[in-house]
């Protein structure tokens, strides 16, 4: 008997997002978005400023809810989930890498990587520490694991953020201009790091970028223009 088909990591069906709903100044920023991301895909999301990229990313990341349409994350329909269930699903299925790295400055690099697992399981243990160490090793920063985030360069912090995003072994990583704040060399290192993780771990990536060069190096490019997907 054949195995049932693995669900897509992400599926958006006719997703709309409006602000000021029901008022005279109601504005729809996303119009009937359909998008599917298969396991292991590395997709670039591009578009001019104000086109709705960030709003789309927030909805995909379960940080915001669509006004209409259906969103599936690893086969789970999310519109029926309450806030606690969405938080749980987000913690397990999605990792985030932001433009300004956003490590928590009160913790070391290793502890920052441990945080998602710690928040999920409650108490720290040796396995957690080992997992964080291995992830830092994977991004080439095991030597820096005891450094506080404030004592690291921007590129290093972004690599720690990638390791942290991988901590719960999510199926999808959402990277919002992760190289936007880095010099060319660091940007290239960080991008290659994500590409390598994508190939090694089979983690899907949705990368928001303004850089056409980086977008060209992805498996697929999706463009948002005026709240509609073209590409």
């Amino acid at each position: 008997m054949a195995n049932p088909p693995t669900p897509a990591v992400l599926r958006l069906e006719r997703i709309c997002k409006s602000y000021n709903l029901g008022t005279a100044v109601e504005v729809e920023v996303l119009h009937e978005i359909d998008l599917t991301l298969e396991r292991g895909e590395f997709v670039a999301l591009i578009g001019p400023s104000g086109s709705g990229k960030s709003t789309l990313l927030n909805i995909i990341g379960l940080l915001d809810r669509p006004t209409k349409g259906r969103l599936f994350v690893e086969g789970h329909e999310t519109s029926t989930l309450d806030d606690a269930a969405l938080t749980r699903l987000r913690g397990h299925a999605i990792g985030f890498v932001f433009q300004y790295h956003y490590l928590i400055s009160a913790f070391t690099a290793l502890e920052n990587v441990m945080m998602p697992i710690l928040a999920d399981r409650g108490f720290p243990d040796a396995a957690m520490r080992q997992r964080a160490h291995a992830l830092l090793d994977q991004v080439g920063l095991s030597r820096w694991e005891n450094n506080l985030a404030t004592n690291m360069s921007g590129g290093q912090q972004q690599r720690v953020a990638i390791a942290r995003a991988l901590a719960m072994n999510p199926a999808l990583i959402l990277a919002d201009e992760p190289t936007g704040n880095l010099d060319t060399k660091s940007a290239d290192t960080v991008f290659e790091m994500m590409r390598q993780v994508n190939r090694t771990n089979g983690t899907s990536f949705l990368l928001v970028t303004h850089s056409p060069e980086l977008a060209k190096r992805c498996d697929r490019i999706v463009e948002v223009v005026d709240g509609r997907l073209t590409g």
Partner: protein, 408 residues
């Protein structure tokens, strides 16, 4: 990371440790508030304990005396009186009827520890050309000294009361120029004078009491006041001093005598204590409020400063409940840390105050009472105040929209 601490405690502790200056300042503020509360509370209970000790070791818990004598109006017939006004009679010094029987009954009453008869009246004490009017208390030393710890207050001589002995106060001794071994003459208006020898001089810590009171043996007093075989009062002590009012009421009910509890005879003291307690409670409440607002304001600022961290924690799957607890724990920890430092500072100030603030004769102004329960209650109350104060900022943190928080 300590493997015994959960996520919320680790995060709360790290946030506090990172904002070191904020943490130190707010702990200092909480400490000052707690120190004031501890100092005031301990001082007040010390002074109260001291006063109670003084009162309860220098008087009985209940004094039983004859009912007041009243004039009964003569009636010519129902509804018609002999005279228009009834003159209030003078209160003669009379013995309590059947006092040995009453004492026997009192000794069998549960809750009563000691019972002693006494004869009280006034007399003139004379030495050479100096004379003073005094209040005479004639007692059986063996039983009475178990009620009133007079031997503890003897500063010169012995607490001995033989047939011709007298114990006088230190002020009276000065007035008469008398000391231990000197002869004094006692005269009452009802019997012949009597010569007695000073065996002891006491200091009750009250100038009036030291000037006006003298103690004689029961039989000597009975003879002096012309009450042979009588007793004008019965002195009683109890196991539970705060039950005095109820026990006095019972005694009055079955004996028909006046039973005056130490609570009634020191009503002014209780009024003063109540006033002190009210003002102390008010001060505590306001200090507690200012501590709570201090903690809340620091945490509100902390939530704003840490909004990006909170956003990240929420994005990585941390529930609202966990974020809430991170800030509640910070409030509790700030309260507890402040209370530990504050309680130590308050106790230190009290010890210093106790050591350096003395009576002119070098004796302590108040006894040092540091009850563990005061510190435990303060610790718990401060921690609870901290948690309550953290409620608003913690809710604010938990409700933070991660999208808004991360965007800043």
């Amino acid at each position: 990371m300590n493997p015994l601490l959960p996520f919320e405690w680790i995060t709360a502790w790290r946030f506090m440790r990172e904002g070191k200056m904020q943490t130190i300042f707010i702990i200092t503020a909480v400490s000052i508030g707690v120190a004031v509360i501890v100092f005031m509370s301990a001082m007040l209970s010390s002074l109260q304990a001291n006063f109670l000790k003084r009162v309860l070791t220098s008087t009985s818990h209940i004094q039983i005396i004859r009912p007041d004598q009243i004039a009964r109006p003569l009636r010519l017939e129902p509804g018609a009186l002999e005279a228009a006004t009834v003159q209030t009679p003078s209160q003669r010094v009379l013995s309590i009827d059947q006092w040995p029987a009453i004492i026997a009954q009192l000794r069998q009453t549960p809750g009563i520890t000691h019972v002693a008869p006494a004869v009280q009246g006034s007399a003139l004490v004379i030495r050479g050309d100096a004379s003073r009017s005094v209040s005479v208390t004639a007692v059986d030393a063996a039983t009475y000294f178990q009620i009133v710890a007079l031997p503890d207050y003897i500063v010169l001589g012995q607490p001995r009361l033989g047939a011709d002995d007298i114990i006088i106060g230190i002020e009276l001794a000065k007035d008469l120029g008398a000391t231990v071994g000197d002869k004094l003459t006692l005269r009452s208006n009802t019997a012949a004078g009597r010569t007695v020898t000073v065996t002891g001089i006491f200091d009750l810590g009250n100038r009036g009491a030291n000037k006006n009171n003298v103690f004689l043996a029961l039989r000597s007093g009975q003879a002096l006041l012309n009450l042979v075989g009588g007793a004008t009062s019965i002195e009683v002590t109890l196991t539970d001093i705060y039950a005095a009012e109820d026990v006095a009421q019972d005694i009055h009910t079955w004996s028909g005598l006046q039973a005056i509890s130490w609570i009634t005879s020191n009503a002014q003291f209780f009024t003063a204590v109540n006033a002190q307690q009210t003002s102390n409670t008010l001060i505590r409440a306001f200090v507690g409020l200012s501590v709570a607002f201090g903690i809340a304001s620091v945490l509100v600022v902390s939530v704003i400063q840490r909004s990006k961290d909170i956003g990240i924690l929420r994005a990585m799957g941390t529930s609202r409940g966990k974020v809430l607890r991170v800030f509640l724990i910070q409030g509790g920890l700030l309260g507890m840390a402040g209370s530990v430092v504050g309680a130590a500072a308050g106790a230190g100030a009290l010890i210093f105050w106790h050591a350096y603030l003395r009576e002119p004769d070098g004796s302590e102004l108040f006894p040092l009472v540091l009850e563990p329960s005061l510190f435990l209650n303060t610790l718990l109350l401060a921690a609870l105040t901290g948690v309550a104060a953290a409620a608003v900022p913690a809710l604010q943190a938990a409700r933070l929209d991660p999208v808004v928080a991360i965007r800043g």
